[in-house]
Amino acid sequence: MIFYVVRRIFNLVPTFIIATFLAWGIIQAAPGDFASQFAFDQVDPGKAERIRALLGLDNPWYLRYFYWLRNVFLHFDLGTSMTSKASVTALILPLMRNSMVLLLPATALAFAIAIPIGVYSALNKYSLADRVLTIFSLLGLAVPNFFLALILLAFAVQWFHAYHWFLLPTGGMTSSHFSSFSSWHQIIDVGWHLIGPVIVVTLSSLAFVSRVMRGEMLEVLSQDYIRTARSKGLSERAVNVKHGLRNAILVIVAIIGSTLPGLVSGAGSVEYVTGWPGITPLFIKSIFAQDVYVVMALLTILTLLLMLGNLISDLALALIDPRIRY
């Protein structure tokens, strides 16, 4: 097992390097750079060139990739933001934390609701409840979640106009005067701001996960060993849980790693709409400002997250599924 883990991790290194090189190439392919905005400075015509030299932007792009890679691996340094002049790590970490505050409850909630729904649908195939749930998941798959977030936001405003108190906040992660609150009050305040975004992110992944679960459960229930289990006289419950669910749940383990980036992306547009101070608003802002190190750092971290997510999924699968040999 340990050998397998080590081999898998070593396998990730070339992928990581190619992926980051690719990302770097794409970022650098954009015409102009951060210094371009000073190119037509009337007072100081040489400003753009000086800034370029100062930031090292006058080196060829592939060379700068290797500098970047060296700094990441040797010093864990993701560079300095050109717009805010702060270290990218310091800039990103609190935003990463904010994103996780939104993402983790939403993911947990989505899986906690979707698995029972999927199982129930599969066990009562083509029943009324199954049909209703199927329709709902079809509808859920078709709603863009930034639109759902917009509706929710507009609803919050609407409620305030009608009753002059806030049922849900109209965006952001904290109220004004947040720093003057007691710590309990702060937690409640963040939780209150969390309700809307979590609902949207959960709903949008709920449909997908429950459909996967339903499909897999149906697949498992049609296997021969289920018939065997029934014919040897096991109770329906034992058949469904011990032989059905325990096999079907494997697919959830397998997809949980790869759904994570989808969730990050999905949560991204929700963050953008509701003004949640996560990584996506920063990403958008940095892309427009051509703040390449911030863009690169976010891409790198998300890539790493995706690769680790897949790795953990695979390892967990290898651990619990005795059929997988390593």
């Binding site: 070339p14 992928t15 990581f16 190619i18 992926a19 690719l22 990302a23 794409i26 970022i27 392919a29 954009a30 015409p31 102009g32 079809l138 509808l139 798959l141 078709a142 709603v143 863009p144 930034f146 639109f147 917009l150 509706i151 936001l153 507009a154 609803f155 405003v157 609407q158 305030f160 106009h161 109209t170 965006g171 980036p261 989808g262 990050v264 992306s265 991204g268 547009s269 953008y272 709409v273 990403f283 958008i284 892309i287 427009f288 051509q290 863009v295 976010l298 891409l299 998300l302 890539t303 995706l306 690769m307």
Partner: protein
């Protein structure tokens, strides 16, 4: 062996003399597809949507880039069918007047019932700005049309109101922040929103099949190279890769046709990997089959074997993955345009229209300017119907998913 047994079984069921009808792939697919009522409904709805998009100039009451700074956020015009006495009458509308609420400084629209404007059908408008190039000529790029000397134009609109002074305008879904007719804009936006998905998935699948075909057929280091590349590409989360890709072209301020192609290319760069992997797997197994070996033994070139023997075998797969990928790309385009990195004004798409709603939703709430949210509903309907159609097509072409 299993096939043979089931074959005789059905023959026996049909009676001894009746011959078994051979059915082509498309016949079987159509028979299977007909079993999906939802997919058929979806097909009809999609047909209507594409028809509206194609003839948007005709169905929209006003020209594509018609804006009016004095009529921003005008509420939808109500069409009346009953006159003041309650009798059925020819449909007519009332004009709307804007005034400023001196307490909130918000513009308030009131219906002006002094004069009724009759609704007219098949309206010709004489103004030069009202002329448009009808479908399908407008699909040809402008430059090419000039070179070829094709300059047809039309000025016919399905409906409109008769008014010389242009006081009353009909806006079935109100106007947006620029005073443009939302109902018309929805149809003009559909041109981009509805075609991006199809074109992007065609490009993605073409690249994917080519690369997957090469990887699977040649194997060795080429296979390794392509696989590594696909793996690296898929390791970067889609949305962020898409945003980064589109950002390359953002500073160039490209003309709208080029920008449209950029979006398609960006979307297909994200998506070809999955197809490549799947095709590679299929080719790997097909390569060892007897007919491939036979073709090679007969002296067929590699290109011929790939294009004539291997790729046609993956036809069902292509149709199914096309229909599955289209709604995803449609959604992706809307997100991209919503973030401001996709379609650029004056072109429009549903995602871009919603970014207007984004800037005003936090102020007005749901009921005040509800019509600016309608593009979201349009995206929803398009994605839903494509999903349903995709399900139907998958069952029609993929024997394994039939129930």
């Amino acid at each position: 062996m299993a096939d043979a047994t089931t074959g005789t079984h059905t023959e026996r069921g049909r009676g001894p003399r009746e011959a078994v009808q051979g059915a082509s792939l498309t016949t079987i697919a159509w028979q299977q597809f007909k079993k999906h009522p939802m997919a058929r409904v979806a097909l009809v709805i999609l047909g209507i949507l594409y028809f509206l998009a194609a003839f948007a100039d005709f169905f929209a009451p006003y020209p594509e880039h018609d804006i009016n700074p004095n009529a921003t956020f005008e509420p939808p015009t109500a069409v009346h069918f009953l006159d003041a006495q309650g009798h059925l009458s020819w449909p007519y509308i009332y004009g709307q007047k804007k005034s400023i609420d001196m307490q909130t400084f918000e513009s308030v629209w009131t219906v002006d019932t002094t004069h009724a404007y009759k609704l007219r059908f098949f309206v010709h408008r004489s103004g030069v700005r009202d002329r448009y190039v009808p479908f399908p000529v407008n699909v040809i790029p402008v430059q090419l049309r000039h070179v070829l000397g094709i300059r047809p134009w039309a000025s016919l609109h399905l409906f409109g109101v008769a008014d010389a002074a242009g006081q009353a305008k009909i806006h079935l879904l109100g106007t947006d922040d620029l005073g443009a007719d939302v109902f018309g804009k929805l149809m003009f936006g559909a041109r981009i929103s509805l075609t991006v998905g199809i074109l992007a998935s065609i490009v993605a699948i073409a690249i994917g099949m080519l690369m997957g075909g090469i990887a699977g057929f040649y194997g060795g280091w080429i296979d390794e190279l392509i696989l590594r590349f696909v793996e690296a590409l898929s390791a970067i989360p889609d949305l962020f890769l898409l945003l980064t890709l589109s950002a390359i072209f953002y500073p160039l301020h490209l003309p709208s046709t080029t920008q449209f192609m950029v979006i398609i290319v960006a979307l297909s760069v994200i998506g070809w990997g999955t197809t490549a992997r799947a095709v590679r797997g299929q080719v790997l197994s097909l390569r060892e089959r007897d007919f491939t070996v036979a073709a090679q033994a007969l002296g067929a070139s590699n290109t011929r074997v790939i294009t004539r023997h291997l790729l046609p075998q993956t036809l069902s797969f292509v149709i199914v993955s096309l229909s599955i990928q289209i709604p995803g790309y449609t959604l992706a385009e809307s997100v991209l345009s919503f973030f401001g990195l996709g379609v650029q004004p004056p072109s429009t798409s549903w995602g871009l229209m919603l970014s207007t709603a984004q800037s005003f939703a936090g102020v007005t709430g749901l009921t005040d300017r509800w019509w600016i949210f309608t593009p979201g509903v349009a995206i929803f309907v398009a994605v839903l119907t494509w999903n349903l159609l995709g399900d139907g097509l998958r069952d029609a072409f993929d024997p394994k998913s039939r129930r």
